[in-house]
Symmetry: C2
Subunit: 361 residues, 2 copies
């Protein structure tokens, strides 16, 4: 067997974007770090700054390009989208699927806005769209809800979905520092971007929550339908009051759905959570979620919610799943638009009614 045969038998992967996540994915795929056996061949990396960045990856077999068309016509089996932002990322995912390529994305904004349509397109094309990395970093919550608990009727989701805000709040709790100082510390540790407002304001978490509502309840939720209260004004006075009540403060993303009345209750807000609860114990850039089902009760999951290496684990898992069966079709879900939405009448000091199991954990 010639070398070219061996190479062509491997699954060809092209990467869009060489930022934090993209670079981590590229390192894993080119074997410059430990990982799964190289069943994959990274053929192309698209990045606007490809000429400047190519020195960052010691992989001679990879073609760097600033032309998206070159990637879309490269004959890759899978395109990994790690650009971020809504456009042009959404258009490129669509173009890749139309070109007959499966897509793995870490892009919560695109999946929250266009996920249902893109899944429909993927199914029509006989290709796959996977997005485990869009929610929860390495924590495999997309699979847990979309597949593992698909045999149940899920009624409620309670989660910490934004690692940056969680790092800030747990730092404030631990050190007594002001929010601005905690944000600065999170930046220094690489947990926060220069502008942390999308994290603190809950816009990041509500996009992720909208994705999970699609998986758990079959609803097509626009992130803007989910009320987000900002964490930016939380002070040590709030923590002191919480402490008096045996609690601390976390940014919680919450959704429950009453199928009888078709009423979705969904919000993202900083609220008090009981000391000792799984959410109070989630520190740093971790994520955690509790999924309530009619038959399974409470199922929980927690793990690294942010960071390039952790997010790359989710991307690699999706690549492996597609490679296992290149022709497999993931049917698009039939998402309902026929529901109402509300945010609960919550206040900062209204303690979340956390299920007994979770309270115990």
């Amino acid at each position: 067997m010639r070398e070219t045969d061996i190479v062509s038998a491997r699954c060809r992967v092209a990467l869009l974007g060489f930022g934090t996540v993209g670079a981590a994915v590229a390192r894993r795929l080119t074997g410059s770090e430990s990982g799964p056996p190289p069943a994959f061949h990274l053929t192309h990396i698209f990045d606007r700054r490809a000429p400047q960045k190519r020195a960052l990856l010691p992989a001679p077999g990879v073609t760097w390009t600033t032309s998206i068309d070159e990637v879309l016509h490269s004959g890759a089996d899978i395109v990994v989208e790690a650009i971020g932002g809504v456009e042009p990322a959404a258009g490129w995912i669509r173009a890749a699927l139309l070109a007959g390529t499966s897509v793995v994305t870490a892009n919560k904004q695109v999946v929250a806005r266009d996920g249902a349509d893109l899944l429909t397109l993927a199914a029509r094309q006989g290709r796959q769209l996977r997005f485990e990395a869009a929610v929860g970093g390495a924590m495999p919550i997309v699979r847990a809800i979309g597949e593992g608990l698909a045999g149940d009727r899920i009624t409620r989701l309670t989660a910490i979905l934004n690692g940056t805000t969680n790092a800030v709040l747990s730092q404030m709790e631990a050190t007594g520092s002001a929010l601005d100082d905690a944000v600065e510390d999170a930046r220094a540790l690489g947990y926060a971007e220069a502008d942390a407002s999308a994290d603190l304001d809950g816009h990041d978490a509500r996009a992720k929550l909208a994705i999970l509502c699609g998986l758990a309840f079959g609803l097509r939720v626009d992130p803007l339908q989910i009320e987000a209260r900002s964490t930016a004004a939380i002070s040590q006075a709030d923590f002191a009051r919480a402490r008096e009540r045996g609690a601390t403060i976390r940014q919680i993303a919450y959704a429950d759905y009453d199928r009888t009345t078709r009423l979705l209750t969904a919000w993202v807000a900083p609220i008090e959570v009981a000391e000792g609860s799984i959410f109070a114990r989630t520190a740093g850039p971790q994520n955690a979620a509790v999924i309530t089902g009619v038959h399974s009760g409470e199922t929980g999951i927690f793990g690294a919610g942010a960071g390039g290496d952790a997010t790359a684990v989710a991307v690699l898992g999706d690549i492996a799943a597609i490679a296992k069966d290149r022709s497999a079709i993931v049917p698009s879900p039939a998402l309902s638009r026929d529901f109402r939405v509300r945010s609960s009448d919550f206040r900062l000091d209204c303690r979340l009614d956390i299920p007994a199991l979770v309270e115990a954990l």
Copy 2:
């Protein structure tokens, strides 16, 4: 469209065994309880006591039979094996795959012993074998390890995998009762069978741990290679000593694998776990697991580890996954036999080196 067309378009499921799990699966599939929309048609139920049991399920469209051949030649798309025990269950799973039928099983003993061979057979037949229900009840740990974290290099598993023993130990801790009384209580609550020795002795947990070692490390582990120390002799004196050290006692299943030396460390034993840790906080028939990966750090999962309804959730999820793509092939893993195994030099009072994240949770 005629009624027969609608029926034949649905995925035909046949069920082997109408015990606790089988009955819960049958109720969900026949819509006598809330659940996913009836995309599935339960056509046959095999049970040795079919004539006596048929009155238990108000579903006129289901054929009850005491003939396994009738089920295997029924033209079902999926056979659900909920018989339990190694034989004849393993033989019937093999026969179903040979007949071109995908199989969903809750049978940890069969998957631990024959899983690798059965997956190879399934792949050769172009069919699927799925077994989420064999480990962890509703807790989707098979997907978490086998798919969600497949993009990482997993180095360690620490888990509570036996709900019965956990219910007994957490009851002893909470009430100060003797082990025999706690076992009696667990039986009364439906958490323990008449003979709880396979649970207490760790034989159940080590079969599950062997399955997880296959998924996490790619190793073909015989459950008998895993040392199991019995929980049956744990007394209140042990709990008192643990309490003095700020700990309690749980049956822990542990495995780590050093890929350089090919050394697998694996054991199941009652050991002390720190108060406040996720394992100490796992009460009743719950399961919990922490998976350590090179890139993802610690990922945790917990949920209902036992009970017919919870286990049925895992079975239904597997049925749905197969129905999504009836022709999909799940390739069999290449499991290595080239490794050594040891149990650690642990003692009851040697505290588990639980990772920081877990300790915090």
